[in-house]
Symmetry: C2
Subunit: 247 residues, 2 copies
Amino acid sequence: MITLEDIAKQAGVSHSTVSRALANSPLVNATTKAKIQQIAIESGYQVNQVARNLKTRSTKTIGLVIPEVSNPYYPKLIQFIADEVRASGFNLQLHLSGVHQEFEASCIASLYEHRVDGILLVTAENGLVAKEQVKSLSNSQTPVVLMGWIEEAEHFDIVTGNDAHGGSLLASHLLSLGHRQIAIIGKPPHRGIFDRIHGFQSTLKSVGISIQHNLTIPNSLAEEDQEIASTVQFLINLPPPPTAIFA
Amino acid sequence: MITLEDIAKQAGVSHSTVSRALANSPLVNATTKAKIQQIAIESGYQVNQVARNLKTRSTKTIGLVIPEVSNPYYPKLIQFIADEVRASGFNLQLHLSGVHQEFEASCIASLYEHRVDGILLVTAENGLVAKEQVKSLSNSQTPVVLMGWIEEAEHFDIVTGNDAHGGSLLASHLLSLGHRQIAIIGKPPHRGIFDRIHGFQSTLKSVGISIQHNLTIPNSLAEEDQEIASTVQFLINLPPPPTAIFA
DNA sequence: TTGAAAGCGCTACCAG
DNA sequence: CTGGTAGCGCTTTCAA
């Protein structure tokens, strides 16, 4: 492995000068700089980021913890994050925390040990599993941002959708169109949907519309496309049928 | 950031001893060791892998270069690799080289700079873009394994499917079933399929069956499901129709 | 069983 | 403009 020292010898200067030259510092004589850079290229020198990271106390890498990758939502997220990270001149350390986030804690530990400059932690149905770790990390220097479903946001930095508000907006929209007989398909399989339905229903209630249970179809009856089709059929055949369906 | 030295002070020993104790070395007095480990846990010490990597000249991480992640094949690959890497106690540094592998070279450079212990390079339709880099890497200490389509394997370590042989096997199978009128759907959009068709056709030829061009449907006519359906319809209506379709 | 010391390759300070 | 030197935090000899 070729080092700064090797180049220094070849160029007849000190390794400090080489370091400066390769960082394109204006403190180096232009001729010397050119010569050094030339030698560096010819010899195929590649800086040792490990040493640099140790010295500068920064790794220019961010850690991404994501449950899995078979759910197509995650690859999309990874793609976006990876592009952004590269564009900013950072690196990505990827850890899969497992479908049930069973490795979440060890992923975080490993990333901290590698002194990544920041952690992006994507949670899933189980919420934030390694809560204590994240807490102690935020007390340290490492910034952590959570994405996904988090039960209690506490003092964490977090990016998530406001599902309840979304549901509420939907309800307002339908109400403004004059709908009063509104069916609901889908029972909460996980938090986000629960919140959406909850927001939807409470807005309905707030204007005095009571939830009609015969119009509320639990999710278990509407998992497959086919079942959804027949569920819709059933709703339409009701006397009177709903004028709108929230699904 | 808490270091070995901090723990050493607290325990009243030297940092060398702490290092040994945390590595569970038998050279350390059992009582001291227990005490040190206790302090380490209480203080929340986490080893600095950057420093360790510099000293040991090994990073326990492998670099994965993959074109993109929207093609569902790649997430599957990532999942598998990530699991294996973790199971072996390694870390994963992920780089997306871009749909057309436009970043392949810089990905490899970055991984080398980080002194990863090995690189897994997945190529796509463009083949191996950063050929020179890989060559010089294999001359260095960093092992590189290529996956995907590679035009010339040269001296690289490579894992790939034998598409031509696969096509040939398919042909033999159909022949053994007595088929002689065999249609082919799909023109090569990329190398693998080209090879498969080629292997298929040469096996056909080798037993004296000439390729019937009216039975060979170019891919451009069969990209969408719908078009494939009508293509099949067309083939079946031929006088005489093929008895088998290779698609 | 322990500590002192060297050194991984780099950056950055301080003199000159 | 340049070199010497210190030191990032760790592992690993070498002596004691």
